[in-house]
C-alpha cells in the first residue's frame, strides 16, 4: 500500500583527480598506497644521507616554501568552501537569476585551464584591486576551486532526502532556515571526504601560483635549479615532497570516510 519510504543517503561523492585511495580489499602492507608512500619516504630520507650534495642542500631550501604552500592551500580551501556553499545552493535555486549566475560561473570556470585562469585572475586582481601577491594567489585559487566546491555542495544537498526539507518547512521554518539548520549540517557530513579530496587537489595545483609570484614549495625547487642547473635532482626532490604530503592526506581522507561510514 504505497510504501514509498525514502532510503537513507548512502552516497559517496567523488570529485577527485585520482589520488590513490586505498581500497578496503587490498592488504594494508602491499597495497599501491603503501608501496608508493614507503618508496617516497625512503628516497626522501636515504638520498640526502647518501649524497648530501645535492640532495640535502636541495631539501634545506624547502621549509619556507612548504609553509607558503600550506598557507595558500588552507586559505584557499576555506574561501572556496564558502564560495561553494553559495554556488551549490544557487545552482539549486528556483530563482532564475541566482540559478543562472551560479551555473554560468561553474560553466566558465570549468571551461578554462587552471593555469590560464590563475594568470588571468592574478593579473586582473592585481591590476583592478591592487591586491598583494599572497591574497591575489589565494583568491585566484579560491575562485577556481569555488566552482568545483559548488558542484560538491550541489550533489551533497541533492543527496539529502526531500522529506528533510519538507519536515522543516511543515514546521514553519523558512527555506533559508531549513537549509542552514537541517540540510547543510547533514550535507557537510557526507561531503567531508570530497572536501578532503579537493584539498589534496588544491595542494597540488597551488604549485601553479609559483609561476606568477609566490615563493612556494615548487618555486624554491625552481630557484635552486636555476642557480645550480641541476634540474633533475631539484624536481625529483620536490616531487617526492609533494607525493609524501598528498599520499599522507589521502590516507587521512580515507580514514575519515571509514569513520563516517561506521557512524551511519
Amino acid at each position: 500500500m504505497g510504501l514509498e519510504i525514502d532510503r537513507e543517503p548512502r552516497v559517496n561523492i567523488q570529485v577527485t583527480d585520482g589520488v590513490l585511495l586505498p581500497e578496503k580489499s587490498q592488504p594494508t602492507l602491499f597495497n599501491s598506497w603503501a608501496i608508493a608512500f614507503t618508496l617516497a619516504v625512503v628516497l626522501l630520507v636515504v638520498l640526502p644521507i647518501v649524497r648530501p650534495d645535492p640532495y640535502w642542500n636541495i631539501l634545506v631550501t624547502f621549509p619556507a616554501g612548504i609553509l607558503v604552500t600550506f598557507q595558500v592551500t588552507v586559505s584557499a580551501i576555506i574561501l572556496a568552501t564558502l564560495i561553494g556553499i553559495f554556488v551549490g545552493i544557487g545552482q539549486l535555486s528556483k530563482r532564475t537569476f541566482i540559478n543562472r549566475l551560479a551555473t554560468v560561473y561553474v560553466e566558465i570556470i570549468r571551461g578554462i585551464p587552471l593555469l590560464v585562469q590563475i594568470f588571468f585572475l592574478y593579473f586582473a586582481l592585481g591590476r583592478f584591486l591592487r591586491l598583494q601577491d599572497f591574497p591575489a594567489a589565494v583568491l585566484s585559487m579560491a575562485i577556481c576551486y569555488g566552482a568545483y566546491m559548488g558542484e560538491v555542495f550541489r550533489a551533497g544537498i541533492q543527496a539529502i532526502p526531500r522529506g528533510q526539507m519538507e519536515a522543516a518547512l511543515s514546521q514553519g521554518l523558512s527555506r533559508g532556515q531549513a537549509l542552514r539548520l537541517i540540510i547543510l549540517p547533514q550535507t557537510v557530513k557526507i561531503i567531508l571526504p570530497a572536501i578532503g579530496n579537493e584539498f589534496i587537489a588544491l595542494l597540488k595545483d597551488s604549485s601553479l601560483v609559483s609561476v606568477v609570484a609566490l615563493t612556494d614549495l615548487f618555486r624554491q625547487a625552481r630557484n635552486y635549479a636555476s642557480v645550480t642547473f641541476n634540474y633533475f635532482d631539484a624536481y625529483l626532490m620536490v616531487s617526492l615532497v609533494y607525493l609524501v604530503f598528498t599520499l599522507f592526506l589521502s590516507r587521512l581522507v580515507a580514514f575519515m570516510e571509514e569513520k563516517l561510514k561506521q557512524h551511519d
Partner: protein, 245 residues
C-alpha cells in the same frame, strides 16, 4: 454550526498528465478526527499536502481558519506553524538528538527560550512514554519510537491541526500499536486530526468521519459504521474487501 478549521473547495491538481486531485471539496471541523482511506495513488497524500501548501493547487482553494492558504500574499509560515505533519518515513532530523529534534522549530520559529522549549519537550516525551530517550540520536530508536518522537516534534509547536500521512505503514507490526495509542490519546484530548491510514481499528475507535478516495475524488464519506459496514458505492465496497481480507 461552527466554522470549519479547514475548507477545501474545488481543489484540482495534476502532475504532468496524472490527475492527483479532481475537484475535491472537504471541510474539517475543530475537534474532528477525519480518517482518509483509498487505494495507492488515489490522491490522499496530495490532499493532505495541499492543506499546508507543500503542494500548490492548479485551481480551487484551501482555507485555514478563514485564511486563503494558496494566496501568495499569505504568510505561509504562520499557517504551517499551526499545522503539524507526521510522515510515513518519520523524517526526524538525523543530525540532532531527540531533544533538539523537538525543540528546534519552537526555538527558531516561535522564539521560545531554550529552557521553556526543553521543559515542553520533557512533558511531551512523558506523554509519548519515552522520557529516557531525550538525549538519544534518532538512529538509536526503533521505528515506533521514531514515529512517536516525530509526533512529539509536531506537538511541540502546539498545532491546531495534525496531519498524519500513513504514520504506521513503515512500521513492523509489533510497533504499530504504540503509535496508534499515542494518536488515540490525542484524539481523546480533542485534537483536530486528519489521518491517512489503513488501520481500521483506529478509525472505529477514534474517527468521527471517514472519507474514501479513488482516482483523485472523494467517492464516499460517512461515519465509520456507515463506511465500513454499509458502504453505498461499489468502489468503496471493493476497496474494503481488498483491504480487510
Amino acid at each position: 454550526m461552527t466554522e470549519p478549521l479547514v475548507r477545501i473547495e474545488q481543489a484540482r491538481k495534476s502532475f504532468n498528465k496524472v490527475h492527483a486531485l479532481r475537484s475535491v471539496n472537504l471541510s474539517i471541523y475543530p475537534g474532528e478526527v477525519l480518517f482518509i482511506i483509498g487505494p495507492s495513488g488515489s490522491g490522499k497524500s496530495t490532499l493532505l499536502r495541499t492543506i499546508n501548501r507543500l503542494e500548490m493547487l492548479d485551481s480551487g482553494s484551501v482555507w485555514f481558519d478563514g485564511i486563503d492558504v494558496m494566496d501568495h500574499k499569505t504568510d505561509i509560515r504562520h499557517i504551517r506553524e499551526q499545522i503539524g505533519m507526521v510522515f510515513q518515513a518519520f523524517h526526524l532530523y538525523p543530525h540532532l538528538r531527540v531533544l533538539d529534534n523537538i525543540t528546534l522549530a519552537p526555538r527558531v520559529v516561535k522564539k521560545v527560550t531554550a529552557e521553556q522549549a526543553r521543559l515542553k519537550a520533557q512533558q511531551l516525551l512523558e506523554k509519548i512514554h519515552l522520557p529516557d530517550k531525550i538525549h538519544a540520536w534518532p538512529e538509536q530508536l526503533s521505528g515506533g519510537q521514531k514515529q512517536r518522537v516525530a509526533i512529539a516534534r509536531a506537538l511541540a509547536m502546539e498545532p491546531r491541526l495534525l496531519l498524519f500521512d500513513e504514520p504506521t505503514s513503515a512500521l513492523d507490526p509489533e510497533m504499530v500499536k504504540e503509535v496508534l495509542d499515542v494518536m488515540l490519546d490525542l484524539a481523546r484530548e480533542g485534537m483536530t486530526m486528519a489521518v491517512v491510514s489503513h488501520e481500521m481499528g483506529f478509525a472505529k475507535a477514534a474517527a468521527h468521519r471517514v472519507i474514501f478516495m479513488d482516482e483523485g475524488e472523494i467517492v464516499e464519506e460517512g461515519s465509520p459504521d456507515q463506511i465500513f459496514n454499509r458502504p453505498q458505492n461499489p468502489r468503496t465496497e471493493k476497496f474494503l474487501q481488498h483491504v480487510l481480507h
